[in-house]
């Protein structure tokens, strides 16, 4: 690769261990903020997406508009969405979270609908035959059986959000993104590498933990092995 020439020119190694050991507190704070921003976004996203998903699943009239609106939100680039909000909500965590939540909605709503649609019709019939009322059927049959689809959505939403949080560094938040941004501003590789590596690691850990959680809460799916 070009690496030797480039590194030689700037005399800045990709990792300066002394910087890391001297900035453990900064790095930890960035990581914690990154996790907080992500958690808030995914939890609020779910709180909005579950009712939206149920409506979209039940009602043909609302399904189109719900998918179109969340799709438009999803398509608008993050920097533009933050720019739309800045003049009104300023450099606040609110600006960051409105944007981050907005991006989770399409993924979550779509997977909730796909999950609910995957519940076999005869299972639903059987539940009705056993005397389940609509609400009980939803809470005890439909939603539990839709969990694999829903968790799949939460996994993508979480990994996507972890990546997007880095962009919020540009509006003064950012978690690990602020390390990446610092690396860019000061032309200094170490924080950039640390921020990137930790962000990718966080995404992988979150994805695997959610996959584990999914196995835990759907014991019936385990015996069916790999599908």
């Amino acid at each position: 690769m070009l690496a030797t020439g480039v590194v030689g020119a700037v005399e800045d190694p990709w990792i300066r261990w002394s910087w890391i050991s001297g900035h453990v507190d900064v790095i930890t704070a960035a990581l914690v903020q990154h996790i907080q921003l992500t958690l808030i976004a995914v939890v609020i996203g779910l709180l909005i997406a579950v009712p939206l998903g149920l409506v979209a699943w039940r009602s043909r009239v609302f399904r189109g508009p719900i998918f179109t609106l969340t799709g438009i939100l999803y398509t608008i680039p993050s920097l533009a969405l933050f720019a739309f909000l800045l003049p009104f909500t300023g450099l606040t965590i609110l600006t960051a979270e409105i944007g981050l939540v907005g991006y989770t909605l399409l993924i979550l709503v779509r997977n909730i609908v796909v999950g609910l649609n995957s519940v076999p019709e005869d299972v639903r019939e059987a539940a009705r035959g056993m005397g389940f009322r609509p609400l009980a059927e939803l809470a005890r049959i439909d939603l539990p059986l839709a969990i694999p689809g829903i968790v799949a959505g939460v996994r993508i939403a979480t990994v996507t959000t972890i990546g997007l949080v880095t962009v919020t560094a540009l509006i003064g938040e950012g978690g690990l993104g602020s390390l990446i941004y610092d690396g860019l501003l000061h032309d200094f590789h170490t924080p950039l590498v640390v921020g990137t590596v930790l962000s990718v690691a966080l995404a992988v850990v979150a994805d695997l933990s959610l996959a584990g959680l999914q196995r835990l809460v759907t014991p019936w799916a385990r015996s069916r092995a790999v599908t």
């Binding site: 720019a83 779509r110 990546g163 880095t166 860019l184």
Partner: protein, 249 residues
């Protein structure tokens, strides 16, 4: 004057429509950069995905590559690329920022196209493939006249996902000293010129939506007539790249 009045005024100012930092030139830059990146990525990714699907080996790689791609923040990719290629680019005629942005955008666009073209090829029913061979089709004809048409909606879905991603991330490239429409947002932010910031956001959003909807149209057209859902059996809109990859994973 109200804030929105100022935004409208920004658009009406003729000086914002001229020269290298005017709206037409920035839009042109944005489109050329995005188009070149998607095209380059397609030339690399589609043969790989199609080959993996056709020969049936390396499927896990094809699925996982887009999961890995999603875990790498595009912002980090841009900044890293700027650090690796930025210095080399400064001495070139192309202008600082163009090479790093291009490299990052190509890298970003590859994974969804590999995964989707693979999934598309896997969608082909083995019986259909057998039947084609039984009819005396050669391997080339099986690939070109049977497999690829059936896989086409998925291949197009991959291109669409990548293209929308690239147009969005090209906006961020303004942060690493490249042009494009993102400049209005980044400069508007730097100068505390909120009407300019907002106008930039409007243009970027409109461009992204145009790309998304027109490619969605192309994707529908690329679906062979026999595979289009008829009105009566209309199902959900097929899962996008993103969802298919994740559901399969």
């Amino acid at each position: 004057m109200s804030f929105f009045g100022q935004v409208v005024q920004w658009f009406l100012d003729p000086s914002h429509w001229q020269g290298d930092s005017g709206v037409p030139h920035r839009t042109f830059e944005h489109l050329v950069m995005s188009g070149a990146s998607v095209l380059t990525a397609a030339l690399i990714a589609l043969p790989v995905g199609i080959a993996i699907g056709h020969f049936g080996k390396g499927g896990n790689l094809a699925i996982n590559i887009s999961n890995i791609g999603r875990a790498i923040p595009s912002f980090a990719l841009l900044v890293l690329s700027a650090q690796v290629f930025g210095i080399a680019a400064a001495s070139q005629v192309v202008g600082f920022g163009a090479v790093p942005a291009f490299v990052a955008l190509v890298a970003l666009a590859i994974p969804p196209m590999v995964t989707n073209s693979y999934i598309g090829m896997r969608e082909v029913d083995p019986d259909v493939r057998e039947a084609a061979r039984g009819m005396g089709m050669r391997e080339r004809a099986v690939l070109l006249r049977v497999e690829l048409p059936i896989a086409m909606p998925f291949i197009m879905a991959g291109i669409r996902t990548s293209a929308v991603n690239v147009v969005a991330t090209a906006t961020l490239a303004a942060v690493v000293a490249w042009g494009g429409l993102g400049r209005f947002i980044v400069d508007g932010f730097g100068l505390q010129d909120y009407p300019m910031l907002f106008a930039g956001a409007v243009m970027v959003a409109v461009l992204s939506l145009i790309v998304e909807f027109s490619l969605a149209g192309v994707q529908r057209l690329a679906t062979p007539a026999g595979l289009r859902p008829s009105k009566s059996t209309q199902k959900e809109e097929p899962l996008t790249a993103l969802d298919t990859a994740a559901v399969a994973a």
